[in-house]
Amino acid sequence: MSDVVEKTLTALPSLLSLDSQPGSAKLSSTAKLGNLIRGITELTSKHEEEKLIQHELASIKEQVSSPNTTMRQMRELMVRAVYCEMLGYEASFSYIHAIKLAQQGNVLEKRVGYLAVSLFLNESHELLLLLVNTVLKDLQSTNLIEVCMALTVVCQIFPKDMIPVILPIVEEKLNHPKEIIRRKAVLALHKFYLIAPNQVQHIHNKFRKALCDKDPGVMTASLHIYLQLIQENAEAYKDLTASFVTILKQVVGGKLPMDFNYHSVPAPWLQIQLLRILSLLGKNDQRTSEVMYEVLDESLRRAEMNHNITYAILYECVKCVYTIHPKSELLEKAAKCIGNFVLSPKINLKYLGLKALTYVVQQDPKLALQHQMTIIECLDHSDVIIKRETLELLFRITNAQNVTVIVEKMLDFLRLSKDDHMTIDIVGKVAELAEKYPFKHYSTMNAVFSLGGDMMQPEIPNGFLKLLSEGFDSEEEDRKLRLFAVSSYISLLQGEPSKLPQRFLQVICWVLGEYSFLKEDLEPSVVLGLLTKLLDMKSSSSETKSWVLVAMTKLCWSEAAVSEAQQVAETYSSSFDTTLRQRAQELQHLSRDSQLHSRVLPPGGRLEPDEVVDSSLSFLDGFVSEALSAGAAPYKPLHQRQEELSRSKVLSLEPYGLSLPISTSSCSITDRQSPTLLSTSSGLSGDGTDFSHRGSSTTLRLDGVKRVWGREGYLAQKKPVEEVAQVEVPSPLRSPSQQGDANSCRSKTPTPTANPECDQEKQQLASSLFGGLSSQSSVCLISGAAKMVNIQRFRRKAKGQRSSSTTNEQRANPTVSSASAVDNLLCNNLLEADTEPINSSAKQTFQHPHSLSVANGACDAEAILTDGDPKERNQPLSSEDFVEADDSPPREDQERSKDSCLTPHLPAELSGFSHSEIIPLCSSQSLDLSACHVQTDNSVVLVVFITNTSEDANLQIQVFCVCESPVEEVRGRSVSVRQYSLTVKMPLVHFELVGMLSYSIPAGMPQAMMQFSYKLPLTSFIRPLTVSTEEYGSMWLAFSHDTKQNLTLIKEEREPLTATLNALNKKLSLHVVEIIGVEGLVACSLLQDQPCLMHCRVHAGRLAVWLRSPVPDLPDCLLYHCQRALQEP
């Protein structure tokens, strides 16, 4: 072919390539690939395809290794090799050639070379090292396209250890005049930050420059990095909030070039990124949140077009509004938005609506009530994903009333589920619920084990067995439960045991081994017979078999059983499985020697281990101190090392919130969605320890969830007295229907006229699912002017609380609940209440969480009322001193004046002790609630002041802090004082006490509720512990929980150790036992009985602190406060 033609052809963009091999037909590259593809599609069997591809690969291999192959041909060959790999055939011979092509080819060939490399190799492939030089060269190329390609490949695939080689050049690119290069460089740095964060620490200020780049594209790219950084440490970036808000304002206002629009929505990706950043910054931070209210409002308003992308923005907006510090207007708008999602006919939007609800119900369970019918519909949706999401939502609103129905729904789902992952997840949830509401525990767990099969997490059977062996409250009940388990397992084994999952069989074996003696009419030999059957089953795994043998070992104490056991042991003592062989040996020996058997495995008794494990390894102390004095660095646990590392790389030295490891117990929705989703833990498990609520608690347990907003934040202005009055006199239109409700309640049939469109079945389901949900919004149904009926547990919103609720809804809800069989009890209540009006001043029956719950996760503080009667001291209040608190945080001087005005109300016996500042907790129009804590010698007393601010109206109050207190009256302009003594169950860095106040103004009128929380640090509970050095020494060895860390030493010339210890002493009230040279011994205790020892040593200009205590977590928590005490000037 002539040169002229060839040139003409190559001038056409990348279309033709000529095969220069002598004799072969001249074909264009695309034609060759095309032939291959066509050849494959014509084939009918997998076998033929394999043959063809192997042939193709052989031909490619031959050509690539030929020295005559040009780069252009190589490019075409690489494309074919990539295609073969995509079909699942390995072409590893071509990897090196791909690298060569990237190295030597011209720009067009290079591009294919890089593409092939990034598709062929993964990050750890050794050939990748050969690419480093090429990338380095291309990064420095004058050809911009080459630079772009190099940056792209760096983002896609680059060996981690080689990052330092190219980092300076990539950094340089941040100053490149071309926008596209800067943008790619920022993205490359983001990638580096993700895979090797330590290496880009020093360029944080350059990220800031990228954020301020004049080109919006570069700025957008830098947000990826900022999102990451802020996720890790929001505190350090609070100063950027205003900038982010400004950017979002500009974007929302359409100030960006048209290029950024997507379906005429301005830069949606950028908007969403900013919203996510803002929600991280505004979380638990009122001041920062206030900066963003306006722009969030704007975003909610602007996004009105009916397109997916606007819904995406809205969804993110709603999440942001519910994450940051609450603002009622925004919350209302966001709630309305969620409604749009949930009610949308589009299934994708419905799905997101459910997700949003799941996110939001933790803060506002009433929102789920509004959409109960939609939720019920979704529960029966044909799409399993929607169903699953609905279950997730229901899981979050589970309470003692609806748990049975919800668990039933979950089990139904499990019966149909085919997806392993979902099964594991749901099984975990059911097990968690079963553990939390144990009245149905046993039978639920049977279903869990048989449905969950062998996929469930091993913690579930373990936890179940632990619970069974440790027992619940009463001995008798435990016995019954175990007996029940034994009988039902026996009958299961008599059925078809081969159908049961292995895990379940193992559980059965253990239970039979431990507890079958409880069933008196059951011969051990019968059990042994059943167990032997398991051994003979083909489907039994060897793990199960060893469980069987262990169970047999426990059972072989009777004559009849021994011979059978011997036989089995005989068979398995020659098994190939060593574990099985060992178990068989044990069985053999123990069944022969009945004395030994009864000593090792006493029948009916639980073996108490008499070996004490010294978990602190105190016998090594001598060795450790020797090594330390020889200059060895003190050991730091892994978490501490990581923490120090992460602390050293951020600008701020202030740890963010609860940065200690124990803070993981506080859960949020993001925790739940972490990659370890598999585990059963969830936001609701945070309160796993408070079994004290078992059964009695009818409200939603949300203790594990940080309350971002309280009633006073959202509803406070919505329930002033006028509106309560509105409720008192029901409109004539409404009252008949309500009376109808009451009637229907009595006859226990729904009133069809009230809501004809909902069918009865669904209503029943709804009422059983959503029962107990609205107990927070206590409701009074008023059927006559003077009558007051107390039905708090009815799921009905207080009228007038929400302006958005329509009359229709209000009318429908009671009907629904009255139809419920579950609510029978309540109906009776209502019946009684209806026939004999409750004396308005009588004590109300409330179903609220009675104990003082602790908001930050693991339950830990228990308060005890100091004596039977609360200290009640109704005193007139001087009117001019009083400052009326409003919703906005009171100014400092207001606080001070309040402090001084409430101080005289402190109980006399506490006046000798120092009290903390009196903090206003919450307030309504007629009532103010403040509190402080007083540290006495042996306790901490929480003093709550309830101030009636109204002029004349008497106030009837009831405080649920710890336990129900009697109802009392507070006259106008007077203060009631309650005091609670606090003890610590489990140490935490900060404790948050949550209580509830119900009140009615004037006495006898409908009740209103106020929730309050009070935070106090661990240090309030710390007291000095006076011990001698000898006592200290012996205590030190006895304590098992410890932690070590280096703290900063106070800079002072002569006695830095003494100065530091004094400083600690002043802030934490510790007792310095002795100072010996560079070492100091310090002792303190958590209130009276939980000591903690501290050993300090000056080492290399730092204070090496070693804390030990018999109480878990106490050293960690105390260390946190020591750190804080020394950081503060």
Binding site: L144, N308, I385
Partner: protein
């Protein structure tokens, strides 16, 4: 962040794969198998989202081709759906009325377009014009490196 993007046909044949995080070959094969079975088994009128292990899978069918994007759990599903849509629009603009065959026969082009659109698992450029201009400029490059004027067009 995005984790991977797969394109496969109604018969479950893989057409394009992009992995944004390092994954071993064995895992890749398993994921591809899982994705095709999961997505192809979905009933019509189901939602476009799936949960798979700790990832969210967002898929959408365009004619005979399924686009399947895996994102991390905290990501916005609707936005991911729009990422897919924008990619399809980009392909459409480049090929002009794109069909599955275009992608089969020019899969490397589809990769190049994707690389201009997404980078390291994040959105890089959302403008159709800009992505297209980059791709076309690279396509037009000649054997000899005297291509200054293309650069002017691309970056100017």
């Amino acid at each position: 962040m995005m984790r991977f993007l797969l394109l496969f046909s109604r018969q479950g044949k893989l057409r394009l794969q992009k992995w944004f995080t390092p994954i071993t070959e064995r895992e890749k094969k398993k994921i591809i198998r899982d994705m095709t079975t999961l997505v192809l088994a979905r009933q019509p009128r189901s939602c476009n989202f799936l949960q798979w292990k700790d990832l969210k899978i967002i898929y959408k069918r365009y004619a005979s081709l399924y686009f399947c994007l895996a994102v991390e759990n905290q990501e916005n599903e609707l936005l991911a759906l729009e990422v897919i849509h924008r990619y399809v629009e980009l392909l459409d603009k480049y090929f002009g009325n794109v069909c599955e065959l275009d992608i089969i026969f020019n899969f490397e082009k589809a990769y190049f377009i994707l690389d201009e659109f997404l980078m390291g698992g994040e959105i890089q450029e959302t403008s159709k014009q800009m992505v297209n201009r980059s791709i076309e400029a690279s396509d037009m490059l000649q054997e000899d490196d005297s291509s200054e004027w293309y650069e002017v067009e691309l970056f100017g």
